[in-house]
């Protein structure tokens, strides 16, 4: 029986090459663009790095993950946001893809995890304050 043996070094180089090629086609999380979708009756401060809303209020945000490499995120990439403490700030999906509703449930601070394609990529500081 005749078999072809690939040298171990060649296999390693081939594997690494394939890996590099695969990852090179994937976006690499850099940051999150956040846009306010509604105007709540009480002041809210929404930035890509921190959210602050008043208790009892809810705001719609539209987010867009920004890739750090040349490969942008596309619509089929899943973006989820989950609160580390829902008793402070709850986050529920909005009516559109990549839209979310932040809900001021209780006074305090927490962090909102940004989960992209199943992997936690970021954590955004979140604060709920008293109504003015």
């Amino acid at each position: 029986m005749h078999t072809t043996r690939i040298p171990r070094t060649s296999a390693l180089v081939l594997g690494l090459g394939l890996l590099a090629a695969t990852t090179a086609c994937q976006p690499d999380y850099g940051s999150l663009e956040v846009e306010l979708g509604t105007t709540p009756p009480a002041a809210a401060s929404i930035h890509s790095t921190d959210f602050q809303i008043q208790i009892g209020t809810a705001v719609l945000i539209n987010v867009k993950p920004v890739s750090a490499n040349r490969n942008d995120y596309i619509e089929t990439d899943t973006v989820e946001m989950t609160s580390q403490d829902r008793t402070v700030m709850d986050v529920e999906p909005g009516p559109e893809a990549w839209s979310f509703v932040l809900i001021g449930a209780g006074i305090g601070e927490t962090c909102i995890d940004v989960v992209i394609n199943g992997a936690v990529e970021d954590c955004i500081d979140a604060r709920v304050v008293e109504q003015e």
Binding site: P41, G56, T57, A58, L60, E92, P93, P95, G104
Partner: protein, 291 residues
């Protein structure tokens, strides 16, 4: 050739004017236009519809569940209902459930919302597991003062009623910004002197029927929580012999079943069917007819 054309144009213009007039006339004549008690959701997918849940919501005409308008604010401790309806383009989507963003601020029990904390609270229209498809912020405000009106006109410090006749007074909860507050509340009407004028019914709604008993003046007070408002009721001598009716001339069938708020100690005429100027302090089962 020119004349027939001008004539035809004049005819068309007349037809147009007639059509416009016939269109506008019914609108001009419907004096009791009631704006819908809806308010567009903040995400623009539909409308929130305000419902009165009790008989003492100032936003609903007597006996109606349909409010006349969406409230700018609801009263602290006031109860109300909300429904949601989609805009046409979203018709067919599964109806969302409504929930409060904070039960400590607006409580939701068996479909009835209750304002618990002053300020804004988001009501969320939730579809499926947790997808928020619309939002409406409701402002809860404390009752700052009450106004008393008769036939939808705010009364002065004194109202008059003829002995043996009745008038209807309505209390309306107002915010500090003079906004009419929605929400069903517990009212407590009392008469300082029931031998002069007494209230018919339980006196626990926003509307109270005041019956002139005997010539004199007494004070009627309405209380909601810690807020009170009074009006002097002057009972004038009976001008007609013997019948008890509303001051507007309508016949009033009074099925009074309660003594709440009534401090009457005069003769009880339970089950009495009064057809003459009844000045007794009845409280129960009294049917008053006349007119």
């Amino acid at each position: 050739m020119l004349l027939p054309l001008r004539s035809r144009l004049r005819g068309e213009r007349r037809a147009l004017v007639t059509a416009l007039a016939s269109l506008l006339l019914p609108l001009a004549c419907t004096g009791d236009y009631m704006p819908p008690p809806t308010s567009e959701g903040e995400l623009g997918r539909g409308e929130f519809i305000y419902r009165c849940t009790g008989t003492s919501d100032a936003l609903c005409p007597v006996g109606a569940q349909q409010a006349t308008s969406f409230p700018q604010a609801v009263a602290l401790r006031g109860e109300f209902g909300l429904d949601y309806t989609y805009k046409e383009e979203f018709d067919g989507d599964p109806l969302p459930t409504l929930k409060s963003s904070s039960s400590e601020r607006i409580e939701l029990t068996n479909g009835i919302f209750k304002g618990m904390t002053e300020g804004y609270t988001a009501i969320l229209a939730v579809s499926g597991a947790s997808e928020v498809i619309d939002i409406k912020h409701i402002r809860v405000a404390a009752v700052d003062h009450l106004t008393i009106s008769q036939d939808q006109i705010e009364v002065g410090p004194q109202v008059e009623v003829e002995a043996g006749r009745t008038i209807k007074l309505t209390a309306s909860p107002q915010s500090a910004q003079d906004q009419l507050l929605g929400g069903s509340l517990d009212y407590w009407w009392t008469s300082a002197d029931t031998s002069v004028a007494k209230l018919s019914g339980a006196g626990t709604d926003d509307l109270v029927v005041v019956q002139g008993v005997a010539e004199g003046t007494t004070e009627f007070t309405v209380k909601v929580g810690q807020v009170t408002q009074s009006v002097m009721v002057k009972v004038t001598p009976s001008m007609t012999s013997g019948s008890a009716s509303d001051s507007d001339g309508t016949t009033d069938t009074d099925t009074d079943t309660s003594t709440t708020g009534d401090t009457s100690t005069t003769g009880d005429t339970t089950g009495d069917t009064s057809t003459t100027g009844d000045t007794t302090g009845d409280t129960t089962g009294d049917t008053t007819t006349g007119g």
